[in-house]
């Protein structure tokens, strides 16, 4: 019991990302409204971003901008003092990708609406089946 509790508390960030990701996945699969699906898609991508950013955290470390960089005296820089910059770099890319996907998805949703005059998937499918 204690092990499980410790597991839950030690890794709470990871549990949150899994929850978010599952919410997004469920919305994509089960929701009927196309815009809700797009929102679900965005939640899914954000969950992955949360996961990556969680990897970068180090206890007792600060933001990865080297202090006193230009005041002459050369301090020894220790990696443990700064958080891991790599996941942040990767997620900057992933954020941009998710914004781009969101934009294109919204545009295509507009196109769909212009063609079928609804965003409810079952109504669209009904229109397609009986033209």
């Amino acid at each position: 019991m204690e092990d499980i509790l410790r597991l839950i508390i030690e890794k709470y960030n990871y549990w949150i990302y899994i929850t978010l990701m599952m919410i997004g996945l469920y919305a994509i699969i089960a929701k009927n409204n196309l815009v809700k699906k797009i929102v679900g898609m965005n939640i899914l991508q954000t969950a992955v971003i949360l996961f990556f950013v969680s990897i970068g955290v180090k206890r007792g470390a600060t933001v990865p901008i080297i202090e006193h960089a230009h005041d002459g005296a050369h301090h020894a820089i220790r990696a443990a003092e700064y958080i891991n910059p790599l996941p942040h770099v990767l997620m900057l890319t992933a954020i941009v990708v998710s914004v781009a996907t969101l934009g294109v998805a919204l545009v295509i949703a507009i196109k769909t609406y212009q063609r079928f005059l609804t965003l409810e998937e079952d109504e669209i499918l009904k229109q397609i089946r009986e033209p």
């Binding site: 898609m41 990767l90 990708v97 996907t101 294109v104 545009v107 295509i108 196109k111 063609r115």
Partner: protein, 498 residues
């Protein structure tokens, strides 16, 4: 200059995209020449790379001059040199054919269309050449986003199909990214070879197993492997014809390559085949994919839609062939990437020509086509024979290697599925030939326009020439299969499979 080939391959189309985009605003006539220049450049570079790799072994390139685990690193070996050549050849031939349909269907949007076209090619070429797991994700998204937009350009329900593709594609890409993240959290690296070096002591870790599963599911979603294929037929059917003949031959093949690369280079065969022992299960999934793809194709009344189900079945060929886990199966799978890209291109181009002239590709519009469009239909016959697997065409040889692999592995289910799908293809295509050759032209208004029956109304020359280049390519690749296997693919087979 030749040491910069891996960079130039991706950069030339990217730089061309700027000029195309600018030309779209000032001189729209220049869009097409710029596109041709960009893609021809990367085609030449990819052929040069193939030559370099064949003569001097694998080539590598360090971007920004940083050493591998820190900077981004490209590596070209026999496997991706071949796939690169295929991708750039198919993209280039299809570009030549696309011009007439673009001028007919959306003339005022040629600039953005060609911009997205070269960006799509940039994404695909980059995915094949990269040696960095995260770089692959970014390039995957470039190819995906441009692909969504190009598909949504179609008529009718194309936007809805594209939207479904976006949902499934995003899930796939997110799973891939999550898999890479799992690998990163246990190894601390993103470079494929570096990960492979760090992984062996971690095989017992649950994270690595989960990373493998998530990553494979993501890649399978993207390639439309059977239970995850639902988005594929609609998206490829409703796309405009120059787009479906671009996306259908390339996207799935490149994803198959990504799967092979991930298993061979990142996770290594030791882990995937020996430690996890999933190969039998995956081959059975492939069997189901082949059988279901063929059966669903059989029930379709629209030629283009039928072809998309054939694509689903062909994905099963390649995935199954690879997971058989022996040299013949691997050779068959890689050779099939090459052959299937050309076959699908040939068939989709032919159907594109039919759509260009007739307006649709339903069975009802086929009668009499052998007389009115003899050249298109002849090329369609070559492509069909290749899909069925008739000897002088290349389709026969990859199927032969796949059959050998199945026999060697003792996997008779896969053997039976291959034979079954060939039989189904025979039925499918002979039905088309029968309708096209024997049935008289036009049902109801045939009598009113009786004179039209023998008038040749072919697609424009700009569409016929690329089609025939592809059809001849099918036969040539078939004749030179021995060379290709002996000089390229044999060196790509992982040592463990020999």
């Amino acid at each position: 200059m030749s040491e910069h080939y891996p960079a130039l391959l991706v950069i030339l189309p990217l730089l061309a995209s700027f000029f195309i985009s600018a030309a779209g605003w000032f001189r729209p006539v220049l869009c097409f020449p710029f596109t041709v220049a960009g893609l021809a450049g990367s085609l030449l570079v990819s052929l040069g790379l193939l030559g370099d790799v064949m003569s001097g072994g694998p080539v590598s390139y360090r971007f920004a001059g940083w050493d591998p685990p820190w900077g981004i690193y490209y590596r070209v070996d026999h496997l991706n040199a071949l796939v690169l050549a295929v991708v750039s050849v198919v993209g280039f031939i299809n570009l030549l054919a696309a011009r007439s349909s673009v001028e007919k269907e959306f003339p005022e949007k040629a600039g953005p269309f060609y911009t997205l076209y070269v960006l799509f090619m940039t994404g695909l070429l980059g995915m094949v050449v990269t040696g960095d797991a995260f770089n692959l994700y970014v390039l995957l998204e470039i190819a995906a986003i441009t692909g969504y937009a190009l598909i949504a350009l179609g008529k009718g329900r194309a936007p809805l199909s594209s939207l479904h593709y976006i949902f499934m594609g995003t899930i796939g890409a997110s799973f891939y990214l999550l898999g890479v993240g799992y690998l990163y959290i246990v190894t601390g690296s993103l470079n494929m070879e570096d990960i492979a070096r760090l992984l062996p002591p971690l095989y017992e870790s649950k994270v690595v197993t989960a990373a493998f599963v998530i990553l494979m599911v993501g890649v399978w979603l993207k390639m439309g492997f059977f239970p995850l294929h639902a988005w594929l037929p609609n998206a490829y059917t409703h796309a405009p014809s120059p787009v479906s003949s671009l996306v259908a031959p390339l996207m799935t093949k490149v994803m198959v390559y990504v799967m092979i690369r991930m298993v061979v280079t990142v996770f290594t065969l030791d882990f995937a085949f020996t430690f996890l022992g999933l190969n039998d299960a995956v081959v059975w999934l492939a069997v189901v994919a082949i059988v279901m793809g063929s059966l669903l194709a059989l029930s379709e009344k629209d030629v283009k839609r039928m072809l998309t189900y054939i694509v689903v079945a062909e994905v099963g060929y390649m995935v199954g062939g690879f997971w058989l886990g022996n040299s013949a199966g691997f050779t068959g799978a890689v050779l099939h990437i090459l052959n299937d890209a050309l076959m699908t291109l040939c068939l989709f181009l032919a159907v594109g020509n039919i759509v260009h002239v007739k307006g649709n590709s339903r069975m009802e519009s086929l009668p009499g086509l052998f007389r009115t469009m003899p050249w298109t239909m002849a090329a369609l016959v070559v492509g069909a024979l290749s899909i069925i697997g008739v000897p002088p065409t290349c389709g026969f040889f990859s199927k032969w290697y796949l059959l050998l692999g199945a026999l060697e592995a003792g996997h008779y289910g896969f053997l039976a599925a291959l034979l079954f799908s060939s039989l189904v293809s025979v039925v499918l295509f002979f039905r088309i030939f029968e309708v096209g050759y024997f049935e008289p032209l036009g049902g109801s208004h045939g009598s009113a326009h009786g004179d039209d029956e023998h008038v040749v109304r072919e697609a424009p020359l700009g569409m016929l020439v690329p089609l025939w280049i592809t059809a001849l390519g099918l036969i040539l690749v078939g004749l030179y299969t021995g060379e290709i296997v002996g000089r390229v693919i044999r060196h790509a087979v992982p040592a463990m499979m020999l």
